[in-house]
Symmetry: C2
Subunit: 288 residues, 2 copies
C-alpha cells in the first residue's frame, strides 16, 4: 500500500503555498505538487502593488520571498505532474505518471486553464486523445502519435515517445527553440480539430492534416473537470462554497481555479481557508 | 452638500487596508476609517507564520510593513469613529460624531465584535442607550449619565460628558489606570442588565444598581447590525456571497466580520475581492 497523505495540494501558486503553510503549522502529512519556480504568472508580473505588506516589489522578488518562506518552514515542492485524481470514497488516488499517490483530502490550486479545448478533444478523450504521453506510451507501440505541447520541458516526453511509436509529429506551441530527436517531425502549424470515427484518425491543422493514431495535448494544466472526474464546475471555474468546499467530500479548491478576481492575495487568502477546511475534514475522518 | 466618496472603508485591519490598496490603484475617491495602529489584534500577535511571504515576523513587524505600504501608496487612515451608516438608496450616509460623510459604496471591515450585547441593550437602543456620547450629549444636559467603556481612549469623551450632565458614573472595562475628572464617579463593577420602562431607568451591576437617565456603551466596534440598519446577519457574522456582497446594494464586507477563519491573509484576500466588487458597483452607478 502506498503512503497516504492527509492532504495533497495540487498547484504551487499563492493559493497552494498558502495552503501548505497551514498544513505544516497544523502538523499534517501533506505533499505539494507543482513547480519550484512557484508560478509562471507571478514570475512575469512586473510590479505587484496590492499584496498587502509588499510594496515596490516585482513578481519575481515576491516569488523569492515566497520561496524563502517555504525554505524557513521546511516545505518542499514535488515537481511531478498530476494527471488524474479519482475519488475512492475514503481517500483520493492521484495518478502521477507511472506512480500513484493517496491522500485523504485534496486541495486543487492549479490556476486558470488558459488553453481552451480543441474541437473534438473532449469527444475523443480516452479514445485516442490523452494528456499523459508517458502513461499511455505502451498503447502506441509502432503507431503514429501526434503531440501538441505548450512548454519546452515536454521535449523529454516527446523523445521518449519517439522510442516507442513508429512516427511522432510534434507541434510546439511555445516560442523557445525546439530541440528534439531528429526522428521527430516538427510541424509548425496551428491545431484546429480532432477528427475520427470510433477513435481518432487525424488532426486537422490550419494548413493541412496529419493522419495519426493518437494525440497527446501537453498543457500547463488540464482542466479541473478532466483532472477530477465528477467535480462540479461553474462554467470554467470549480464551484466552491465560502469554505472552499467543492461538491466532492474531501476535495477543496482555491485561487484562480475557483473564479475571479485573479489576484495573488485573494488566492493566498483562499488557500488559507481551504487548508483549514481540509484539516478539519481530515481530523473528522480520523475520529470516525 | 458634503463631499461624496466612491468608497468608504470602515476598519483598518488587513481587510480594510487590502481594500484601500485596490481603491487607490483604481483611482477611486475613498476614505478609510480606523486606527493608525492598524489593528490591536495584529499588534499583539507574537509571531505570524501563515501570511505567505512573511516569515519570522511578529505581528508588530507585519503591522509596520503594512504601515510602510500605506505610506508608499499615500493612503491615510481617518481616526474617527463611525457610529451609524444609513442606506439612502443612491448612497450611504455615515454618521461620524457630529459630522456626516457620504459614500456611494461601503466596505465593512470592522473585525469581530468581542463584546456581546448586554441584556436590555437592544431593547433600549435609542431610548436611553447610545454608542456615541458626544453626539447625544445635548439630550443629557443636567441628567444622570452612565458610561461603560472598553478603551482608555474614551476618557476624553467621559470628561466632555461630565461638563454637560449633572452626574456621570463611569465603568471602565479595561486594565489601564483610569484618569478622569474628579467629578466623574468611577464604578469598578460588571454591567449585568439595562432596565427601564418607556426609557432607561437604571443599570443593574453585579453588586448593586445605578439609577441613570442614559447609558453609553463605548466598545471597540459596535455590532454590524447596529452599525448598518437592515444588514442581514448570519448569527454573529455579516452574510456575504463569494464576491463579498451583503444583502444591501453597494454594501460589501470583508475579514473577520464575515466569518471564520480569523486569519490575516484570509482577511486581506477578502478585502481585495470586496474592493474590486465595490469598484465595479461604483462604476456601474456612474454609467446610469
Amino acid at each position: 500500500m502506498s503512503l497516504r497523505y492527509d492532504i495533497a495540494i495540487i498547484g504551487s501558486g499563492p493559493a497552494g503555498l498558502s495552503a501548505a503553510l497551514n498544513a505544516k503549522i497544523r502538523n499534517k502529512k501533506f505533499i505539494v505538487f507543482g513547480n519550484k519556480d512557484i508560478s509562471n504568472k507571478l514570475m512575469k508580473a512586473e510590479k505587484v502593488s496590492n499584496y498587502l505588506g509588499f510594496y515596490g516589489k516585482s513578481g519575481a522578488e515576491i516569488r523569492d520571498e515566497f520561496a524563502n518562506h517555504l525554505e524557513v518552514m521546511d516545505i518542499s515542492i514535488t515537481e511531478e505532474k498530476v494527471n488524474n485524481i479519482y475519488s475512492m470514497g475514503e481517500y483520493f488516488a492521484l495518478a502521477v505518471n507511472e506512480k500513484m499517490y493517496e491522500a485523504t483530502s485534496i486541495i486543487l490550486a492549479t490556476g486558470v486553464n488558459s488553453g481552451k479545448a480543441f474541437k473534438g478533444e473532449e469527444k475523443f478523450l480516452g479514445r485516442g486523445v490523452g494528456y499523459c504521453a508517458t502513461c499511455d506510451a505502451p498503447l502506441y507501440k509502432n503507431k503514429v502519435v501526434t503531440i501538441i505541447a505548450y512548454h519546452k520541458k515536454e521535449e523529454d516526453e516527446v523523445n521518449f515517445i519517439a522510442t516507442v511509436a513508429s512516427k511522432v509529429y510534434y507541434l510546439p506551441m511555445y516560442k523557445e527553440k525546439v530541440e528534439v530527436d531528429s526522428v521527430v517531425e516538427i510541424i509548425y502549424d496551428i491545431p484546429v480539430e480532432i477528427v475520427g470515427d470510433e477513435k481518432v484518425s487525424k488532426l486537422v491543422v490550419k494548413n493541412g492534416e496529419l493522419i495519426t493514431d493518437g494525440i497527446f495535448i501537453l498543457r500547463d494544466s488540464i482542466s479541473p473537470g478532466q483532472l477530477v472526474p465528477g467535480l462540479k464546475m461553474d462554467e470554467n471555474h470549480v464551484q466552491v462554497d465560502r469554505r472552499m468546499k467543492t461538491n466532492l467530500d474531501g476535495c477543496f479548491a482555491a485561487g484562480d481555479i475557483v473564479g475571479v478576481p485573479y489576484q495573488y492575495i485573494k488566492s493566498a487568502g483562499e488557500g488559507n481557508i481551504a487548508a483549514l477546511s481540509a484539516i478539519a475534514y481530515v481530523d473528522a475522518q480520523k475520529r470516525r
